[in-house]
Subunit: 109 residues, 2 copies
DNA sequence: TCAATCTCTCAAAAGATGTTGAAATAAGGA
DNA sequence: TCCTTATTTCAACATCTTTTGAGAGATTGA
């Protein structure tokens, strides 16, 4: 992940609806969920959701595929880990020590 | 770090000048550096730098102290690790595996 | 083909953010 | 006190982002 991609990713995550969409899609797992279900979960209009989903997809944080009438969105996990990696390496220079419960798990991967 | 703080942090880091300021101040270490030196390093006007420094301070990513005529800014490392933690726990749910060289170091902390 | 469903696109309006340059504040030294 | 240095504040402007509602495109089943 380079600076430009990181800037895009941060911009994407700096918006409440979008941050929640990412969380929802991460929880939904690799299968993802249709745009309509995302909108329903957010309580937002279809055009609003479409706008934010496009934004997140442009930033590379989520991806989409058509399945019958629905368009299924899912999280792009490597993009999220890439962002974490960027923060740790390029930004924190190893000076930040996140105390994360899941840290041993993620580190063993 | 709660959602609101994370949103502020992401918004702060989504701007080129601000992202670079954070990197500069992380590299500068706990002693930090005066606003003027930050501005010179960025090649930006004083009011522009002041605007971005205030933004970062409001978000809690940097802090300031007066020292004689200068105002010294420095990185708030716990805020940065808090953001990394937020991304890993609240956002990634342990599904993202950042492959970071410094990972063992940070995990041992 | 027609109607229903799901989603996207578009343009207009509203809102938020970033930049500029001039003026104000704060501190230290002559 | 007056001058210099360091930084912030302010208002005006430009730009970017988000929301809204109406309409269009794609897909499926009758």
């Amino acid at each position: 992940m380079n600076e430009l991609q990181a800037l895009d990713a941060f911009a994407s995550l700096s918006q409440e609806t979008r941050l929640r969409i990412v969380r929802l899609l991460v929880m939904a797992g690799p299968d993802g969920m249709p745009a309509g279900a995302v909108g329903e979960a957010m309580g937002a209009s279809s055009s609003k959701i479409s706008f934010h989903l496009s934004h997140l997809e442009r930033a590379g944080l989520i991806q989409s595929r058509r399945e019958a009438r629905s368009i299924i969105y899912s999280a792009v996990y490597p993009a999220l880990s890439g962002l974490i990696e960027f923060l740790m390496k390029d930004c924190c220079q190893g000076r930040c020590d996140p105390a994360v419960d899941t840290c041993s798990e993620t580190c063993e991967a």
